[in-house]
Amino acid sequence: MNGPAYNAWRLTALTNLPSYALGLIGLALLAALWLSTRGTVGEPSRGKRALLTTLRALACLLVFALVLEPGLELRAETRVRARIAMLLDTSKSMRFAAQPASSGSAQVSRMDALLRWFAAKQPELRELSSRFQIDLYGFDKEIEPQDAPKLLALNATTGAAHAQQLEQLAAGNATDLLSSLAAAAKSGSGGRPLAGLVIASDGADNASLAEGMNKKAQEQLQQLAAPVFALPIGATAIKDLALERVRVDDFAFVRSPVKIAVRLAARGFAHQMVPLTLKREGQVIAEQRVLIDEKVPFTEAELTFVPDRTGKFAFTVSVPVYDGEAIVENNAKSFVLNVIRDRVRVLQVVGRPSWDERFLRQLLKKDPNVDLISFFILRTPGDDSHSSQDELSLIPFPTNEIFQEQLRTFDLVIFQNFNHRPYRMSQYLDGIASYIREGGAFAMIGGDQSFGAGDYSGSPLEEILPVVLPAPGEPTIDEMPLQLQLGDAGKRHPITELLPGAAQNAALWAGLPKLPGLNTIAGLRANAQVLLQSSDGRPALVVGEAGQGRSMALLTDSSWMWSLVAAGEELGPRAYESFWHAAIRWLVRDPALTPMRLHAERAVYEPGEPIQLDAQVRGSDYGASAGAALSVQLFSGASGASAPFAGPIAGADGNATVQLPALPAGAYRAQVIARGANGQVAGTAEEAFVVAPSGAELEDVSPRPELLEALAKATGGARISESDSLTALPFHDPNRVEVGQRTTRPLWDTWLVLLALCLVVGSEWLLRRRWGYA
């Protein structure tokens, strides 16, 4: 059996004495040597003196050597190879084409191009591996060791399997070049020194280098203490226009400007203007021309629009797709915006001051959520103010401004005991009716100038009211006092639900002060719901839908009695306040009071992911629509095109789940219509959502060779091309050895050491005696 092959040695001390003991012994020997020299100070012969001193010093050295126990350490040494970390980009951006689409050749993905380069470099890597340890990693936002044979096998496959495996490999949702390089530099096998890093990537960083190189990144790169050699993949595909970032708040206020900040990245484009478009369901709602220039990598732009209605909407910002663009998917971005009211804008038009008007105004003015615009008729043409106009604070009634120019800025219009005829408003009634049908809200409050008494019979406004008015000439006022009670619909309607619990609520309404009379009606509209009525069935409060809008008929001018008079009867004014707050919320379609609801579990879905919407099906009377058949219409946010889908049947509780198929990227609005057994529409609801890849990885997939070059230079490395030889790269090659085995052999415990000591001490003694010293 052969012993180990030692190829190096070194002297060593085998003593177990501590350092301080060795020091004390050394000092003692030096002191003894010094004292001994004092005995020969008188010796005239310098030679004799020197010889004696030398012999004594040798003796001290030999004694000290015996204390140290010197030995020989034999070592079996091997040279340590430095390490090269090779990082291959496996983020999703590597799925995109390496070459422009118009190049004429077959499309090759960046991942494909990377693997081909990796396979082509195998001979050079083998040669390098004789000098260096090569650690192979895939990276996205972090690193993961890769198996070279597997990658080579993948490169050798073809067809659909090849494409599928490439997609599986390039699956990272982010790219963090800096962190990946730092992690690769720190890890590695056996603590080998780092000779350098090779990174092959498209450079589409979306982490700390997303904005480009910076001082902090440079410092971090220098701490790697090894050169980075960067190979840009897809570097030739440099023509691309990308909506890199679209920033907008999650919600906006209706009728208030919404700003959308857009960051446009243009590469390979000459100095030119490009149109930036914002669409809502195919309709262009904002547009701006943006100047792009290849010398300016990023261009900031801002789109502004004013939402005109509340709700959840899907929007798409887009730029055109130009010939030769590397990536077309990043030319559009979609988002969902929830448009809400900051304040409900209410127009209150009053025929004459009254307590009913005063208490309603007081309530609305106190409500911070209401922006109240009032117009009261304080003087009629028949009134004599006994003064000149300049002594009055009256202003002309601006009918044109209110009912033509500003009408659509209001969420709710209230006509309170107001006769339109004296103010020549007939010309505006059509417009008011259209405003309501198109989503507005209207309330008419009774009085001797309202409903039939206000000359509304046969007018366009009558058509949007939930009640039919008496024909001209018929009685318009019923002066018989009444005690209110809830109608059937009122028992579950949010407007009249002042207290939880049906019995308590009914008792509350029945306990309110009597009303002095009602405006008479000739009947109810088809969709009308009587919420309050007299004990003999005369309707007092009726609500209904008019097109997309809502209307309410309160057939009394004495609802104020539910406030002050009720307070006098120890009931408090809460009923009055709760009633009006709920009525306004219902009229303006407060989402919390919408009878039928549709809810997407997320605002953004992945492309290819099934989409599920939860529907709560209620009729306009707020009763569960069990068994209602749902049909779905899906509208594209970009084109406005719609497609129908079959929906489920609502369960006994009125709930249903709508399943939509996987959809391509884009913005969508789903509209669900519920129909009862008779085929009549029981309710509708809408929901908006976006289908888009998650994460930042696909927001800007443009190759960034310049970033890779800057990164490499910061480390003392360089940008390389596919043809550059890896073996010729100037990697660091620090000389470091590794000791495999070692053994020690003592040098002091032989007779030669003892003999040498005896000879030295004996010679010194003989010479000293011979020269006459003691």
Partner: protein, 275 residues
């Protein structure tokens, strides 16, 4: 009965008293007044139908332990003037009501008046007044004695302080909406012009109590013969007209609150103020 829209007995315009008062003695003068009033009412726009009295403005006159009806003609006349000058639908009937009467809550405009000190009401009455004012009622205090810091004003201040602990009657600034709620006014006058300011208490952002020290209702009162019962001093008939306008503004304010401070009115009012 109402001031607008319906024909009504003449006595309700010129000879009306609170409904518990005795009827005035018929005379030829009163008959002529009635004929004139009927003609005037016939000339006003007519409304074919209307709700009952509850929908109209009718004043509540607060009964107290002192002389509470010293200006019985003042409020009906104010009612008539409001009906003639504005679009407000009024009732000439004045309801004399106690502070603790639940009926008071049907009349959001209440008047407290006397020319003597008002005895302090009971706790129940004070609680009723407090509730009335807190939930939207309006109280107009008119000093028929027109004596600043006189017995009535002092007792009325004490009554209000007892009803609304912590609240204090403060001078109402001249730029308050009360001075522009219908007419553009510059000073508060009544039969007299001895108190240069109105005083008020705000509750929940609105004036709930207003005190006038110039006998406003005295300026409006007519005798049974249709003549003004008192001279307006020192300004004479112009002062009386201003007193009537102040009465109209008070009622208009109580019904419209700060309507005339809405943004849309401001440029018009500023322009007319400059004129």
């Amino acid at each position: 009965m109402r001031c607008k829209g319906r024909s009504r007995p003449l006595t309700h315009w010129y000879g009306a008293r609170p409904v518990n008062d005795d009827s005035p003695t018929p005379s030829r003068r009163r008959f002529l007044q009635g004929v004139l009033a009927t003609a005037l009412v016939a000339a006003l726009p007519r409304r074919a139908e209307a709700f009952g009295e509850a929908s109209r403005l009718s004043f509540a006159l607060l009964r107290h332990g002192g002389r509470w009806d010293v200006r019985p003609e003042g409020l009906p006349r104010l009612s008539w003037e409001i009906s003639r000058r504005t679009s407000i639908d009024t009732s000439p009937q004045v309801r004399p009501l106690g502070l603790a009467d639940p009926e008071l809550f049907h009349h959001p405009f209440a008047v407290l008046s006397s020319d003597q000190a008002v005895p302090m009401p009971s706790d129940a009455e004070l609680a009723g007044l407090r509730r009335y004012l807190s939930y939207g009622g309006f109280l107009f205090i008119d000093d028929a004695s027109a004596t600043p810091q006189g017995p009535f004003e002092q007792s009325a201040r004490a009554l209000v302080a007892a009803a609304l602990p912590g609240a204090q009657l403060k001078a109402i600034p001249r730029d308050h909406v009360l001075y522009k709620s219908f007419y553009l006014l510059s000073e508060p006058v009544g039969r007299a012009a001895v108190a240069p300011e109105l005083f008020g208490i705000e509750l929940g952002g609105r004036l709930a109590v207003v005190l006038c020290g110039n006998d406003l209702l005295g300026a409006l009162a007519r005798d049974p013969y249709g003549s003004w019962e008192f001279d307006a001093t020192p300004g004479g008939e112009p002062q009386r007209e201003h007193a009537i306008r102040l009465g109209v503004n008070l009622v208009m304010y109580s019904m419209c609150l700060d309507y005339k401070e809405d943004q849309v009115h401001i440029p018009f009012i500023m322009k007319r103020r400059r004129i």
